[in-house]
């Protein structure tokens, strides 16, 4: 079938939200969260650098959380926005809004809280799973007092027989003030409940991980019964057996240069995918694999905005 212009630009390479690469960090995150769930932990904290891929990883993972018996655990996601007034009722309102639970403008905190509880309870019965996981993203926007709202959810759900695990997610630097505040004695009940478990999420940290990601470009297909991602953009090269993962050592070497120069911890997935997508769809597709060199990678890293964002942070 003839490929139209529209079909071409529907490729996941041009839509980063649709591109899902599995990394070692995601596997480690999955293992850690499952450990929290299976040991009855009430909550935990996931931190990481900005744009490293925490939210994407968690969204991808959320439909895959399972009990020891293999039953899918209903998982709920809420992103806390930055607001002038930080109240408990705003937390419940955000929870209800994110879940699509009907509420009124005048609804009180207890009404919103009860509504959300019933929402979770309904799902528990439908899925026949009496566990639930709640991912609270952008937790750095919360005040310590607002975290009590999650404690209330936990307590109420326990009364109806549901075990809730709250997973807070935040950026390293922005979350630090809140975490320090929670460390004080008057927030011991919150710290003990939700912040005794932690996990730091990284981007790509070595050549092997880069190779694993590039290999996925050589194995993922678009459309489903169509060519691989590599073959989509480089049909001739792919026919001859060329693979994108063969560039992994060079790509990692170029990044290492930036890593050393700018003291970068790991290669954030946003920047990595931007680099590789540009490399594949723009440079290699037009110039050919024979023209690959370090300058190409340099240019792609520059286009990915890795440097402008991190130079600002380094200051």
């Amino acid at each position: 079938m003839e490929q139209t212009n529209n079909d071409y630009y529907e490729h996941p390479v041009f839509h980063p939200n649709r591109l899902r690469l599995q990394t070692r960090a995601m596997q480690d995150l999955s293992d850690e969260i499952h450990r929290w769930l299976w040991t009855g932990s009430t909550g935990g904290l996931i931190t990481g650098a900005a744009r490293v891929g925490k939210t994407t990883a968690l969204l991808d993972l959320s439909s895959k959380l399972k009990t020891r018996a293999g039953v899918t655990i209903p998982t709920y996601y809420v992103s806390i926005p930055q607001r002038d007034q930080k109240t408990i009722v705003s937390v419940f309102r955000q929870l209800c809004w994110s879940a699509g639970v009907t509420s009124t403008v005048q609804a009180r905190a207890d009404h919103l809280s009860d509504s959300y509880i019933h929402h979770i309870a309904d799902h528990a019965i439908e899925s026949n799973c009496w566990y639930a996981a709640l991912i609270v993203d952008e937790m750095q926007h919360l005040q310590p007092l607002q975290i009590n709202a999650f404690a209330e959810l936990y307590d109420k759900l326990r009364l109806v027989g549901i075990s809730l695990t709250v997973i807070f997610v935040g950026n390293d630097q922005e979350s630090s003030p809140l975490i320090e505040l929670i460390g004080k004695p008057n927030y011991a009940h919150i710290r003990g409940r939700f912040f005794t478990q932690g996990f730091e999420f990284h981007g790509l940290t070595n050549k092997h991980e880069v190779q694993t990601c590039l290999a996925q470009y050589d194995t993922l297909h678009y459309p489903e019964n169509g060519p691989t991602y590599t073959g989509f953009f480089l049909p001739e090269a792919a026919k001859q057996g060329w693979e994108l993962s063969s560039l992994s050592r060079d790509v990692w070497r170029v990044f290492r240069g930036y890593q050393s120069t700018y003291n970068i911890g790991s290669w954030g997935m946003q920047y990595f995918t931007a680099t590789i997508n540009t490399l594949l769809s723009d440079f290699l597709a037009h110039q050919g694999v024979d023209q690959f060199d370090d300058d190409m990678v340099d240019e792609c890293i520059r286009v990915s905005s890795l440097i402008p964002s991190l130079v600002h942070a380094a200051r």
Binding site: L59, S63, P74, G100, T104, R108, H118, D122, E126, K156
Partner: protein, 522 residues
């Protein structure tokens, strides 16, 4: 259909705002909840959301349903199974509730049925008023306005503290058993009820959907299905009555129908003797006699004093006659009308219609007398007769029921007349409905060429207790003496008397001849 309601994947909750999502309160889901109970838990699971808003959301969630009740019953449930109840019960079932169930946010449509005497779960009586707040149970549109733990929405706190612990311990098997009883009835295509007023002359048993509201329904179904004993039925809170069954063989009626119809156009010159009659006619005559004997014995037990039954023609009398004359004896009046009605059939349909046209009947509000004959059975538009033993039993039972309706009417009429006499007014009597038949459940099931006929009262006449007569034993005598001496324009002929303690077949046949002579003006 329900994919738009909710999904428990994060993808649907993240970034998508669907304001039509409604919590269903499934923590409190129980078997065979009514729409009322579903709405109550819906409102409890969505605190602060008004009934109006819930209705709007339901219209989006379940657009193919026409009413709020139907939408509520169409919501996803682990237990929902539609069982037929008429719209009347669906609409009003909330009026009758168990107060203990109400505290547990439970109610079932089955509580509205007349044969449910108490709650099958708690064995307490149903009420029409909330015992907590004293208000009548609210309808669907008013539940949200109540601030009462028994009749309004309840908080999560009450659910976790009070309701859930009870719900988890409660066994709902009694409700399930009762619904199984009802469901089987609705699936049965052969349950049949007969309305005698539908047919002028013949009783016909034909297909009709069973009415689950009948008082004897539960007893009848338990008897038919042989799954529940009377004790088990009583423990379920259902009204228990004794149900009897008779069996009959069905015989095709092809070829007989035309002949049967033709006979009603004959005008015999005289009443036939027993020897001259057909076997069927002879059997019916003997049945007529047997029932008349039974009626006389019953009157001897219930009528005041040493009552003697007088058979008179009341054919030409209107209601005002009864007002201006001494009070008629209801026993004599009833037996006379009954006897005439039975005897007149021998002379054919047309004559029977004329003789049966009592002015005071019409004025008294009794439209027509129930007829009795051998029943015809209609199965898929094919006619069948029953075997002789059943036909005789059915015919005799019809005679008894007919007498019951007549004597109930006479007592009611005389009671009304007495009141009007005191007021000195023209007489007006409320319309009277033949209800003796309705009070006895008749249900039939047919399988191949056999019929099972279920009924509740073995002897309808014996179970009837006539009211006391003002005037006592002298009433009948006073009336008879008045008419012996009275002069009036219309012929009024006594046909005969029935002596106390003696009434045999010859007496019956003699009485019949006197009747025949009477209508011929001899």
């Amino acid at each position: 259909m329900y994919s738009s309601i909710k999904s428990h994947s994060v993808a649907s909750t993240c970034g998508q705002v669907n304001p039509t999502n409604l919590n269903l309160g499934r923590l409190l889901e129980r078997p065979y909840e009514s729409a009322y109970a579903v709405l109550r838990r819906l409102l409890s699971a969505n605190p602060g959301v008004s009934f109006g808003k819930v209705e709007i959301i339901l219209r989006n969630m379940v657009p193919h349903c026409a009413s709020t009740q139907e939408r509520l019953m169409a919501l996803p449930s682990a237990f929902h199974e539609r069982v037929y109840f008429s719209r009347e019960y669906l609409h009003d079932s909330y009026r009758r509730q168990c107060s203990s169930c109400a505290l547990e946010l439970y109610h079932s449509d089955i509580y509205a049925l007349s044969w449910m005497e108490c709650c099958p779960l708690h064995h307490c009586e149903f009420t029409t008023v909330c015992p907590q707040c004293g208000e009548p149970w609210p309808d669907l549109s008013n539940i949200a306005k109540r601030n009462c733990p028994a009749c309004g929405p309840v908080s999560l706190r009450q659910i976790t503290d009070v309701v859930l612990p009870t719900v988890r311990k409660q066994d709902y098997q009694p409700i399930i058993t009762l619904y199984a009883l009802v469901r089987q009835a609705n699936a049965d295509t052969h349950i049949i009820i007969r309305d005698p007023d539908d047919c002028d002359f013949n009783w016909r048993i034909s297909h009709q959907k069973v009415d689950v509201s009948l008082k004897h329904f539960a007893s009848l179904q338990a008897r038919r299905q042989k799954q529940l004993t009377s004790a088990q039925l009583a423990s379920l809170g259902a009204y228990v009555s004794e149900v009897h069954v008779r069996h009959a063989e069905l015989k095709p009626a092809i070829g007989n129908f035309l002949l049967t119809d033709m006979q009603y156009f004959r005008l015999p010159a005289r009443i036939l003797t027993l020897d001259e009659m057909t076997a069927e006619d002879e059997r019916q005559r003997r049945d007529d006699f047997e029932i008349m004997q039974r009626i006389n014995r019953w009157i001897a037990r219930h009528a005041p004093g040493r009552h003697v039954v007088h058979i008179d023609t009341y054919r030409y009398l209107d209601l005002n006659y009864f007002v201006w004359a001494p009070t008629a004896c209801p026993y004599c009046l009833a037996v006379s009308v009954w006897f005439f009605h039975v005897a007149i059939k021998r002379l054919g349909y047309d004559i029977a219609q004329i003789i049966d046209n009592y002015p005071f009947f019409t004025q008294g509000g009794l439209d027509k007398l129930i007829n009795t004959c051998d029943p015809e059975v209609l199965v898929d538009n094919l006619r069948y007769y029953v075997d002789d033993a059943f036909a005789s039993w059915f015919y005799r039972r019809g005679l008894e029921v007919m007498f019951l309706d007549i004597i109930r009417f006479t007592f009611a009429m005389i009671d009304s007349i007495d009141g009007e006499k005191q007021a000195g007014k023209q007489c007006y009597v409320e319309p009277f409905a033949n209800r003796a038949f309705d009070a006895m459940l008749y249900a039939v099931e047919i399988e191949d060429s056999h019929m099972n006929y279920y009924y509740t009262t073995e002897s309808p006449l014996e179970e009837f207790r006539p009211p006391r007569l003002a005037g006592g034993s002298s009433l009948c005598r006073t009336y008879q003496l008045y008419h012996k001496a009275a002069k009036h324009n219309r012929p009024f002929k006594p046909v005969g008397r029935i002596s106390r303690g003696r009434f045999d077949l010859d007496d019956f046949l003699t009485l019949t001849e006197c009747f025949f002579e009477s209508i011929q003006g001899k």
